[in-house]
């Protein structure tokens, strides 16, 4: 009943393995089951989106995988400590963009002389060349999320967890960041577990879409997305699959209105 950050040698088959994971919280009305018997594997280099309406416990699930909270039952094994990106950028405002990245490198044990160079490389990867000395408040929303992505990548983790990272951005910026994330995922080979409530975003990005039902969160259905990258959110195959998934999602939501 814990999250284990396993050594890479033990786990070549998956970046994360969730086995019969359940989570309940104590509420005034008794124990409330939030996640019910979730079993899920993320393969190395795979891009999986977790899709669900409010109350499906998707953020709770991500916290469990990140090791920020413990499951009530079941086991979670990940290939090393996962990196986590939040809906808010969560960059530290007392550091510059570059120093935020260097702090992640420092906490990983990277020697001082290499940090600066590595931070510049990561900034170039997210197309923020020259932003090393910029304060967080001097960056736009999209630039902040890219800097946060660079900081998460600095952890050199095999698994990147993303908790609705683009939902607070405007639509134009979000589209561009979808392109960027797809490119960076392909370049780095990192596995991604991406949580969202946006069906098209899920289909636009993922190789596999996992739909969670709500209260309690259970895996309702899975789709593998065969549409070749680069995709655009307006592409007809993306829209078509989104429509299918939306119908199933609405069916799941509708059940909660019938008693």
């Amino acid at each position: 009943m814990a999250t284990t950050f396993a050594k890479a040698a033990e786990t070549t088959q998956y970046a994360a393995r969730l086995e019969h994971v359940s989570k309940s919280f104590a509420t005034p009305g008794g124990q409330q089951l939030v996640l019910d018997d979730i079993s899920l594997d993320v393969a190395p280099g795979e891009f999986v989106t977790l899709l669900g309406a409010s109350g499906c416990g998707k953020s709770t699930l991500l916290n469990l995988v990140a090791g920020l909270d413990r499951p009530s039952a079941g086991t979670i094994t990940t290939d090393g400590r996962p990196a986590l990106m939040f809906q808010e950028h969560a960059l530290f405002p007392w550091l510059t963009a570059g120093k935020n990245i260097e702090l992640a490198l420092k906490l990983r044990g990277v020697a001082k002389p290499e940090r600066r160079e590595r931070a510049e490389e990561l900034l170039a990867l997210v197309r923020l060349k020259g932003a090393h000395g910029k304060r967080v408040h001097e960056l736009s929303g999209g630039m902040r999320q890219r800097a946060a992505l660079a900081r998460a990548l600095a952890q050199e983790s095999n698994l990147l967890l993303m908790d609705e990272p683009f939902s607070a951005l405007d639509a134009i910026t979000r589209d561009v960041l979808h392109d960027e994330l797809t490119r960076i995922w392909a370049e780095t080979g990192v596995s991604v577990l991406f949580v969202t409530h946006n069906v098209r975003e899920a289909v636009r990005l993922a190789q596999r879409v996992v739909l969670l039902s709500s209260r309690p969160g259970r895996i309702a259905r899975e789709w593998s997305v065969g549409i070749p990258q680069p995709r655009r959110i307006e592409d007809a195959p993306v829209a078509e699959l989104s429509l299918e998934i939306t119908d199933v999602l609405r069916g799941e939501i509708r059940r909660h209105g019938q008693h």
Partner: protein
């Protein structure tokens, strides 16, 4: 796997994300420059000069109405007291006696208040035990500590420092506690996923995140240090201790020299304000501005 060998950003064919992104970045970033000197002068420097001029004018008008130099000295007489102290070479001595005591006492309060604040903020038992007392002590006027300090330590500099500490330590500790309490939980979670746990978490995340509250506590701590010191100097004036600003005030009262009393009060006010303006306000502005928390007026 997942080796982040970073190659320069390359776009997939048919997409030109990079240039779109550069355009978005340029559109959404605003540049802020320094305001011109004229604007700074009109907004920041002129108003206090006008305020001081108004006070002097009211004072000059009131002087002939009261017509009693033992109650209200003329501005010229107070100016004369300043000039005399300056010509005798004693003015800087008065200031330095008090300022050196105040700053040394404040430095000691900093050394004690900081770890104390951290303990109260982080250890539940300590917080439950002394947290309420610490905030209660802030509302106790530090003058109340002068009589017991004189009895315990005698009429000497240690007594002065004890009174400063009792006044300033609670402010500094409480500032740090409220700073730590206001650290957004998101930063703590982000720190934990980056591997900043335990002492590393305190050093790299909690303390820097608590800086705004801590600096506000330091500012208040200085005000309390200065007030406590003046109370101690006025009540426990003793020739052997050297004449500080508090003793100057007390000497003026004993000599019924109202001009000297006014001189001492003005000096106490100016020094307290000057230290705040020279040290603590810039520190606070720097901390807030670097975090984008200060809206330029």
């Amino acid at each position: 796997m997942a080796s982040t060998e970073t190659t320069p950003a390359q776009d997939a064919p048919g997409q030109d994300t990079g240039s779109v992104e550069a355009g978005l970045d340029a559109l959404e970033t605003t540049t802020t420059g320094r305001p011109p000197f004229r604007q700074t002068f009109v907004n920041k420097i002129l108003p206090p000069i006008v305020a001081i001029a108004v006070v002097l004018a009211v004072w000059a008008l009131l002087y002939p109405v009261v017509d009693n130099p033992t109650k209200l000295p003329s501005p010229a007489a107070v100016g004369g007291a300043f000039k005399e102290a300056w010509l005798q070479g004693t003015l800087l001595g008065y200031i330095w006696t008090s300022v050196s005591r105040g700053l040394l006492g404040f430095a000691l309060a900093l050394l004690i208040g900081t770890p104390l604040g951290l303990l109260v903020a982080r250890v539940k038992f300590v917080r439950a035990a002394i947290g309420p007392i610490l905030s209660g002590l802030q509302s106790l006027p530090s003058v109340a500590w002068v009589p017991p300090a004189v009895i315990w330590l005698g009429l000497n500099n240690s007594m002065m420092y004890a009174v400063i500490l009792l006044g300033a330590v609670p402010s500094i500790a409480n500032g740090l506690v409220s700073g730590v309490d206001q650290v957004p939980p998101l930063f703590l979670r982000a720190g934990r996923t980056l591997g900043a746990t335990g002492l590393k978490g305190i050093w790299h995340v909690t303390l820097p995140a608590a800086m705004p509250g801590y600096v506000a506590g330091l500012k208040q701590g200085w005000a309390f240090s200065w007030r406590s010191l003046m109370a101690a100097e006025i009540i426990a004036s003793f020739p052997d201790l050297g004449v500080g600003l508090g003793q100057l005030l007390e000497n003026g009262r004993n000599a019924s020299d109202m001009a000297m009393v006014f001189e001492a009060i003005l000096l106490i006010l100016f020094v307290g304000v000057a230290i705040d303006l020279l040290i603590f306000s810039p520190l606070e502005r720097w901390v807030l501005r670097s975090r984008g928390l200060l809206v330029k007026g």
